[in-house]
Structures are given as structure tokens and as C-alpha cells.
């Protein structure tokens, strides 16, 4: 089973699914017929990373006072960033026939708030992490005060960026307000901040589930929903994306935890699902989540091939069939 391949191998090894080609054959389930469709997620994703990186670079030029912009750019433009939220956001937008130009500013904003929360999570008073995305953590380079302020600056920049860069001929302004609301909720006291708060607490096993949902599920959920909003999805379709995004977000982190559990490092942060429930159970849950996520997409079969990026993303989250950018845990 593909999942056991993931567990046994080194997390940094390239695991070919077929002989030599990185493309993955999958049977896409439709209501009436099964269709076998190829989709090259790796190329799709790599191209997207390049575009997002360029747009982020443009979005945060170094102004006065230089140091804060350097600190913001340091974390935002880290080479190890996989840009998973933008992938979900852009794919969800295009799923409903939206133009990706409508999604890019939000995709960038998602990365900004994501980077901000990671910078704060790594602080000495929080997770006290020395490294992040393959480089020293922000506060170890710029100092704790600058790191706090860099995060404080990235949050509002995200919201501003959405408004000033989203073409209004592509997205109605009332929808943009919903996007902003969605991101703000995901990041705040009912979302990621809640997750991190509980993660810092010496929680009970039950708290781990909540932490997983809040810290990782929220970002996934938010990315997919925002993409849907920007692409013109209906409320029912948004709900499917919400469920999809949450499942994939948690799933992604779960697999990261499983892979990390297999390394010899002591660098195990916080409490992970694996540390509380064990690898076996975690693997079961991951498969459940994979099925759940795909079930939500089955409800969108009328969009045909447009569902493929999101569909294959689920499998990638579990199987990690190829390297994206530079791989770091």
C-alpha cells in the first residue's frame, strides 16, 4: 500500500510511483463512469511556486526602515516554503471557472499570514524553534523583538494586499469582504491562534485533536474556501471546499508527523497525533481523511477535469510521491 511506502522510506527520498515518470495515474470517480486521467501535479505545483514567489518578492520591497522588511522577506521568501495554501486556493478558484489572476493576491495573502504565524510560533516563549523551512528561525537572525514586529506587519499586509491587488472586474467586492473575513477567522482566536495556544498548554490527548484541527485544518480550510469564493462557487460548493480543506490540512500535518516519527532526530515539537496515538492509529486516520476529502470532491464531478489538481493534492499529501521545491520537515 502506498502509505506503508511512505512510512518505511526516508522522508527526503524521491519515491517513484511508476517506473520513471513523475506523473501519477489515478482513477477519478465520477457518478456514472470511471475515467482514468493523467494529471501532472508536480509541474502544476512547481510552476505555481515560481509565480507566487515572484509576486511575494514584488509585494514586499525593502523600504524604510529596512530591517523590518528584511525580516519580513526572510521568512516570507524562504526557499523551503512549499506554498501549499496557494495551490489549494488557485486550484479551488479555477475549479469553478475563475481566472487565476483573481486568486493570486489572496494566495499571496495566505502565505503572508501563514509566515507571520510561523514566525511567532517559533519564538522562545512559544515553541522555541531554532530553525524553520531549512533556515535559522527569524528571531535567531533578527532578534525576538524584530521577529514579533515582522509577524505583526505581515498580518495586516496580507489583508491590504488582497484589496489593493485583486482585480475588481474579476471579483465582486462583497465577495472580497467574505475572503477577508474567512482569513481573519482562520488566523484568530477561534482558529490558528487557538490551536497554538492549546499546543503550548500541556494538553490532554483530546486537546491534540483540537490542536490538529485548529492549527492545520484551519489553513487548509481557509485556502480552499477562499479559492472557491474567488471563483464564484455557490454556498453548497463552499461547504464542500470547507470540509475538503480541513481534511487535507490535517492530513498533511499528520503525514508530516508520521514521517518525522520515523527519523532519529530529537527535534519533535509539541504534541503530535503520532506521539499521543501512535503511528498505526495515525495511519488509519490519514486514510480516513483521504477518503473524506475525496468524497467532498466527488460532489463536484460536474466540473470534470478541473477537479484534478485538488484531487491529486490529496494523494500527494498522503503519498508524497515527488519532491516539491526543497523538502524540509
Amino acid at each position: 500500500m502506498a502509505f506503508s511506502t511512505v512510512i518505511m522510506s526516508s522522508p527526503h527520498a524521491y519515491i517513484p510511483k511508476t517506473a520513471s515518470s513523475p506523473t501519477i495515474r489515478r482513477r477519478v470517480r465520477c457518478s456514472s463512469a470511471s475515467v482514468s486521467t493523467q494529471f501532472d501535479l508536480r509541474t502544476y505545483w512547481t510552476a505555481l511556486i515560481k509565480e507566487i514567489d515572484q509576486k511575494l518578492d514584488d509585494a514586499v520591497p525593502v523600504l524604510y526602515p529596512q530591517r523590518i522588511y528584511e525580516a519580513m522577506r526572510y521568512s516570507l521568501l524562504a526557499k523551503g516554503a512549499k506554498r501549499a495554501p496557494p495551490v489549494m486556493c488557485v486550484a479551488a478558484c479555477e475549479l469553478f471557472g475563475g481566472d487565476r489572476a483573481a486568486a493570486f493576491p489572496t494566495a499571496c495573502a495566505l502565505e503572508m499570514v501563514h509566515a507571520a504565524s510561523l514566525v511567532h510560533d517559533d519564538l522562545p516563549c512559544m515553541d522555541d524553534s531554532q530553525s524553520r523551512r531549512g533556515q535559522p528561525s527569524n528571531h535567531t537572525v533578527f532578534g525576538v523583538d524584530m521577529a514579533i514586529l515582522a509577524g505583526d506587519a505581515l498580518f495586516p499586509l496580507g489583508f491590504r494586499h488582497i484589496v489593493t491587488n485583486t482585480p475588481t472586474n474579476l471579483v465582486p467586492e462583497s465577495r472580497l469582504l467574505r475572503v477577508i473575513t474567512e482569513i481573519a477567522r482562520a488566523v484568530g482566536s477561534t482558529g490558528m491562534a487557538a490551536g497554538q495556544f492549546l499546543d503550548l498548554d500541556d494538553g490532554t490527548p483530546n486537546a491534540v485533536d483540537f490542536v490538529q484541527e485548529k492549527k492545520f485544518g484551519e489553513m487548509g480550510r481557509c485556502s480552499a474556501v477562499c479559492g472557491g469564493l474567488l471563483g464564484g462557487a455557490s454556498d453548497g460548493e463552499i461547504q464542500r471546499l470547507r470540509n475538503y480543506g480541513q481534511a487535507v490540512g490535517i492530513l498533511y500535518q499528520l503525514v508530516d508527523d508520521i514521517l518525522e516519527a520515523k527519523t532519529e532526530t530529537d527535534n519533535k515539537k509539541g504534541k503530535s497525533y503520532v506521539s499521543v496515538y501512535g503511528v498505526e492509529k495515525a495511519m488509519e486516520v490519514a486514510e480516513d481523511l483521504r477518503a473524506q476529502a475525496k468524497k467532498e470532491l466527488d460532489g463536484l464531478e460536474k466540473y470534470g477535469d478541473k477537479v484534478l489538481p485538488l484531487y491529486h493534492f490529496v494523494d500527494y499529501a498522503v503519498d508524497r510521491g515527488f519532491n516539491v521545491g526543497e523538502q524540509f520537515i
Binding site: 523600504l63 524604510y64 526602515p65 530591517r67 523590518i68 522588511y69 519580513m72 507571520a116 504565524s117 511567532h120 519564538l123 516563549c125 512559544m126 532578534g143 525576538v144 523583538d145 524584530m146 514579533i148 514586529l149 509577524g151 505583526d152 506587519a153 505581515l154 498580518f155 495586516p156 499586509l157 489583508f159 491590504r160 484589496v163 489593493t164 465582486p172 467586492e173 462583497s174 472580497l176 469582504l177 467574505r178 477577508i180 473575513t181 482569513i183 481573519a184 477567522r185 488566523v187 484568530g188 482566536s189 482558529g191 491562534a193 497554538q196 495556544f197 503550548l200
Partner: protein, 266 residues
């Protein structure tokens, strides 16, 4: 989160006045108070967030704020950082989701203004420069003004400008009010500096004499106490000058706000 409420609800005397500016701006340009309330709350959340983060040990390391122990003293550093983060997001969420009967275009414009005031071109810039200046022997008046404009004025400016935008103000009206806000924002800080020299902790509700003790650059230190008081007077006059262009009755609350800021005792 209790910690958010703790900081938000501890009010010093001046604080209730501050959320009013957006409302008044609105009414000044034709809007009604209800339209402005979410924005007014958002401004307060942002302000509180900046105080929570400013007070942290790695920043200004303050033990007392608004007459009570600082947030991190009561709840721990980690929680205080998160509380601040949660408040930033809540502010934007609140404006985006709760503003009623206002054209979405205007709400979005107001969100941009808010974002500018909070981030690397506003509050954050002011705090950074303040920390950098603290390590230097000499700070010029221009540098001091930069710090105060960004730390204090920008948020007040956002309050006023956002109120005007949401209330339906046109470009000229918004800019007049922006100038008004810049003056009273700076005025607020000049008066703060003066009070730090002249009052005790109990009267102030925060640790007094800190500026003097820490050799921090302040207006009294750079220009002398008497000149600082004169400067405050000039700022107040400039602020009021901008209000001349508005309806005399509607402008009264703003006029009194300027007066209050100029003559407050804590």
C-alpha cells in the same frame, strides 16, 4: 479569550474617547454612528494589540499598563503574543463582517487604511525606530517626530479617515480630517512626554518617570519643557484650523476631542 478582554476592557479615562473619533467622523460627513461602530471597535482592538506587544519583556518590558499588571504579567508571554495576534485578526474580521449599510467598496478602502496604519508603514515602523533610537546617544527632532507619527498618529489618523470613508466623505473631506488627525496624534504624544516629566505613576496609571530614567528621547528633553508646551499649543491650533471647513455644530465633538487631548492630566 479572557486575555483579550482583560486588555480591552481595562480603560483609562482617555480611552473611551478614542473610539468616538470614527463615529464622529462619520456623522461629520453625513453617516450615522451605527455604520462606524465595527470600525471603532477594530481601532481599539489594534491599539490594544500594539500595547500588549509593546509591553513584552523583549520590547519595552513594562509591568504596568492602564493601572493594572500588563497582559504578559497576568497571562504569560506566550499567551500575550497570541492575544495580540488574535486581536489583529479580530479587528479585520470585525470590520469586514459586521459593517452594515455601507458600500463594500468603502469598507474595503477602510480596510486598506487600517492595514497601512498597523503594519510596516505605521505602528510597526514607529516601534522599530523607537527601539533603534533608544540605542543611540542623540536623536533629532525629525527622528522623534517620525517615531511619534508612526506610533501614535497613524492609528488615530486611521480612526478618523476610516470613519470619514465609511460615513461617505469625499476625497477632500477625508484629507482635511487626515491632517486634523495627524496634528492631534502628535499632540497626544507631546502631552504624554510632558506629563511623564510632571506627574506620578498613580496619576498616570502607568510607570512614570520611565522616560527620564531610561534616557529616552522626548520633546521636553529635546526642546525644553516650556518650548514643548508651546509646540503642543501650535499643534492644537493647526488641528482646529482643519475643522473650520466643516459644519460648526457637527464638528463640536472633534473640537472637544482636540481640546481634551491638549489639556488632559493622565
Amino acid at each position: 479569550m479572557n486575555l483579550n478582554r482583560y486588555s480591552l476592557l481595562v480603560k483609562r479615562q482617555t480611552r473611551p474617547a478614542d473610539p468616538l473619533p470614527p463615529c464622529r467622523r462619520r456623522e461629520l460627513v453625513g453617516g450615522n454612528e451605527a455604520m462606524a461602530i465595527p470600525m471603532a471597535c477594530a481601532i481599539e482592538m489594534i491599539h490594544t494589540m500594539s500595547l500588549i506587544h509593546d509591553d513584552l519583556p523583549c520590547m519595552d518590558n513594562d509591568d504596568l499598563r492602564r493601572g493594572k499588571p500588563t497582559n504578559h504579567k497576568a497571562f504569560g508571554e506566550d499567551t500575550a503574543v497570541l492575544a495580540g495576534d488574535a486581536l489583529i485578526s479580530l479587528a479585520f474580521e470585525h470590520v469586514a463582517a459586521k459593517t452594515r449599510n455601507v458600500d463594500p467598496h468603502r469598507v474595503l478602502q477602510a480596510i486598506v487604511e487600517l492595514g497601512l496604519a498597523v503594519g510596516s508603514e505605521g505602528l510597526v515602523a514607529g516601534q522599530i525606530n523607537r527601539r533603534l533610537m533608544q540605542m543611540r546617544e542623540k536623536v533629532s527632532l525629525e527622528e522623534l517626530e517620525y517615531i511619534h507619527v508612526h506610533k501614535t498618529s497613524k492609528l488615530l489618523e486611521a480612526a478618523v479617515v476610516c470613519g470619514a470613508i465609511i460615513g461617505g466623505g469625499d476625497g477632500i473631506e477625508v484629507e482635511r480630517l487626515r491632517k486634523f488627525a495627524r496634528c492631534i496624534g502628535l499632540l497626544f504624544q507631546v502631552v504624554d512626554d510632558i506629563l511623564d516629566v510632571t506627574k506620578s505613576s498613580e496619576e498616570l496609571g502607568k510607570t512614570a518617570g520611565k522616560d527620564l530614567a531610561s534616557d529616552k528621547a522626548t520633546y521636553p528633553r529635546l526642546m525644553g519643557l516650556e518650548r514643548a508646551k508651546e509646540f503642543a499649543g501650535e499643534l492644537a491650533a493647526k488641528a482646529v484650523e482643519e475643522l473650520r471647513h466643516f459644519d460648526a455644530l457637527r464638528v463640536v465633538p472633534l473640537y472637544h476631542l482636540a481640546d481634551y487631548i491638549a489639556s488632559r492630566q493622565n
